[in-house]
């Protein structure tokens, strides 16, 4: 079981690394999906099937597809690979990479320095328990989450309207 965890972890990390270094947006996105799937497997291992399912359905399924949709819409295919190549010089990524490594080192240092808990067992928590929690104790939070989605909806609706953008210069010449 541990072996599976480390394997999927390695897949997740490598795939994520590919995402941030890849030149082609669509390929990178696919790597990201791979990474998310790997994380879903990990969720499953940790006894969280609902989370695993949501990860696949919403994250990999919905959100990533949304991004793909936009990439396609902007025609961000192979044509921009060259451009990405020029943007992604070692000069550009070395500094951020070092900073991130430093941050990671700090986090690892801090996390490993303290004892977490003697208890190393994990618990299976099924969809039912979560459903009950969501609609009893967390019902207000769920309502708020709906408001969150509403905000996203209104915002996206308002911002994405493309009326007159293309025909600018006709009425108000700015």
């Amino acid at each position: 079981m541990n072996f599976v965890f480390y394997l999927t972890s390695a897949i997740a990390v490598v795939a994520t690394a590919m995402v941030i270094f890849h030149k082609n947006a669509v390929h990178a996105l696919l790597y990201l999906v791979t990474s998310l799937l790997a994380v879903a497997v990990i969720f499953y291992q940790f006894g969280a099937p609902l989370a695993a399912a949501l990860e696949v359905i919403i994250y990999a399924g919905a959100i990533m597809v949304l991004i793909v949709f936009v990439i396609m819409m902007l025609n961000q295919g192979d044509s921009t690979v060259v451009q990405e190549q020029t943007w992604l010089q070692p000069r550009t990524w070395l500094g951020p990479a070092l900073l991130s490594a430093l941050l990671l080192a700090q986090l690892i240092l801090l996390v490993s320095s303290g004892k977490i808990s003697s208890n190393q067992t994990f618990h299976y928590i099924g969809p039912k328990q979560i459903g009950i929690a969501l609609f009893s104790h967390y019902v207000l939070a769920v309502e708020l989450a709906s408001m969150l989605l509403l905000a996203g909806l209104v915002g996206a609706f308002h911002l994405a309207r493309r009326k007159k953008i293309d025909s600018e210069g006709s009425s108000n010449a700015y």
Binding site: L32, I42, P96, Q120, H123, A133, A141
Partner: protein, 105 residues
């Protein structure tokens, strides 16, 4: 029901930290806005991962509930972000974030 053979909480946190830092690195190095959005998702996902792992560790539902909310947020955020990216592209005809530098000083 306890799962005896799972790897430790520490391992989960490590993985999540690595993913987060990768996302951060990508955020800092990519100029393409869409890549940046993906990197934001990586970061968010890393945090969400830790919630689930910790929830499993403590054996309570809160972790996964938070996961649900995080995913909700991610979805809403991406929707608005993409709308803005579209506007950006249509006005500047580029997705290079460095072109957004009119406001400074």
């Amino acid at each position: 029901m306890p799962i005896e053979t799972a790897p430790g909480l520490e391992a989960g946190i490590m993985l999540s930290s690595i993913l987060f830092c990768l996302g951060l690195a990508g955020l800092m190095m990519r100029r393409n806005v869409i890549f940046m959005l993906m990197c934001v998702e990586i970061c968010t996902n890393a945090a969400a991962l830790m919630f689930v792992v910790a929830g499993a560790h403590w054996g309570n539902v809160d972790g996964q509930v938070m996961f649900v909310f995080v995913v909700t947020l991610a979805a809403a955020e991406v929707a608005i972000a993409l709308a803005l990216v579209l506007q950006f592209y249509h006005r500047k005809h580029t997705v290079d974030i460095d072109q957004l530098n009119e406001l400074r000083g």
